[in-house]
Symmetry: C2
Subunit: 293 residues, 2 copies
């Protein structure tokens, strides 16, 4: 049997981002935490943490964390059957794309969290890479654009979000006087979420354009909208995020006929227990994008 | 003299998040990019990149990137004096806190970016840790809460943002019927931005409370507000971000007398050239927080 004190120390170090804070959270000295991590590494015969360039679990450490999290979820079910056990409320670590987090996510999960007394540990990931976190064992579930299930996990479709190339009307008149075309793409500053964000490229490819284009990088969903609203560039945004701005005439779609549908899938480890099944049922009932487009 | 082709390859690999994409951006094969990185490492006698747990520059690599970025800024000034040089528009890499990015940042810098034809590469960092990026040479400037200048950099105060513990009126009635007190802090789910976010702790310390409290983790500024607005928890938010929600009665401050002032400072490398000086003058003229509180 594994020594769960050691796994708990590892989980706390990662969650708190350091040994000193983990010690505070666990009511231990920093050196006691450090000893537990060392004991885990001796048992495993390899490191569970790297300190540079930033504190993070090694692939082996991530496997352990994933196992630990699943055991916590199972313990919680046991605690509901045997309330005198007083099992601590688990924190559900979930990777999701920022666009979901700033739009429909909160209203979809709040009742669930209250009813089940669950705390969430949300990790924001580009929709095309969040799955890697699940595979690495870093999160219990992942909301992303990929429909490829990974071994040991289930994949449930939740619907889709519709992305339009949005800009202010002034920006559109200045930079796209003749509508979307190569000459404009070549010069008009775009806004791109990050190196893994392929939406802008996919939008341009619809017009047969594959060349270079100037762009700002802004890895923050609402900040992205603010930059466009201030007239700094144009970028692909979910219509549900900007609907009010569109109604007020602050933002318009540069190419309503060239919107992109991005599907969303919910991935989670099988045998994570009833709690995850119930959250999954709640999310599947949403049917994202069917009403609002 | 350094071989700037090699530095440019390093910068592109980091910016694009991979060798294959860097190759596409530079019009090179993946193996040509890889050879340039190797040549740089041979010249330096140590690695400039680590591949695990994620692709990142080593401390030595970051020094090189910082130097490269400053040279690009200086080249740009030269390009303005000698337009026939046709120097490419630089991307200004800046670390800033998410709360600034989703509130005042866009309107403060848009004119500057247009006028100077500058593209921005924004990196979102917790306000207490962004400075580390500047010290590591990963960014050209940093907006954060620390007033400690680092060697070789200047530090300019920009004003402050005021944070209140915000929640829905229903949440306040349910979880804080007797106002802020230990019994409520112990049970009411809070929302915390991340392990480095000390605002919640500082708020609780004002009431002499230093014990444990349940919390959701949400590392996304606008997502944070959405979770609170859905009634999932209470959390420290900048008043300028939630002013409309307060006006509409959707969010209230749980303790208006216990707001926290978070100062903001602009740090940038000396000798970065005139462009950075002009951006700094623009930002210093804002006097954040003086009018809006």
């Amino acid at each position: 049997m594994l020594d769960y004190k050691l796994l708990s120390a590892l989980a706390t170090v990662i969650e708190c981002g350091g040994f000193e804070r983990a010690g505070e959270a666990l009511g231990l000295s920093q050196s006691a935490v450090s000893q537990r991590i060392k004991a885990l590494e001796v048992r495993l015969g390899q490191p569970v943490l790297v300190r540079h360039p930033q504190l993070a679990a090694t692939p082996a450490g991530q496997r352990l964390l994933n196992h630990y999290q699943r055991v916590c979820l199972l313990e919680r079910e046991l605690g509901q059957a045997l309330p005198t056990l007083e099992v601590a409320s688990p924190r559900l670590r979930i990777a999701l794309n920022a666009d979901s987090l700033v739009t429909w996510w909160a209203s979809a999960v709040t009742d669930f969290c209250r009813r089940e007394e669950v705390l969430m540990d949300l990790v924001v990931e580009d929709q095309d890479v969040g799955l890697k976190r699940l595979r690495d064992g870093d999160v219990a579930a992942c909301l992303c654009a990929s429909d490829q299930p990974i071994a040991g996990a289930r994949c449930v479709p939740l619907g889709s979000m519709t992305y339009h190339p949005m800009a202010t009307p002034e920006y559109a008149a200045d930079h796209f006087p003749d509508g979307p075309c190569e000459a404009a793409f070549r010069r008009a500053p775009a806004i791109v979420y990050g190196p893994n964000d392929q939406l802008q490229h996919r939008f341009l490819a619809q017009f047969g354009y594959h060349g270079p284009f100037p762009y700002h990088l802004c890895p923050e969903s609402e900040g992205f909208v603010r930059l466009a609203s201030a007239g700094m560039g144009y970028g692909m945004m979910p219509m549900i995020q900007v609907r009010d701005a569109v109604r007020r005439g602050e933002l318009i779609s540069l190419a309503p006929q060239h919107a992109l549908e991005v599907p969303l899938y919910w991935h989670f480890w099988r045998h994570s227990g009833e709690l995850m099944e119930r959250l999954t049922r709640e999310l599947s009932a949403l049917r994202l994008g069917e009403a609002s487009g």
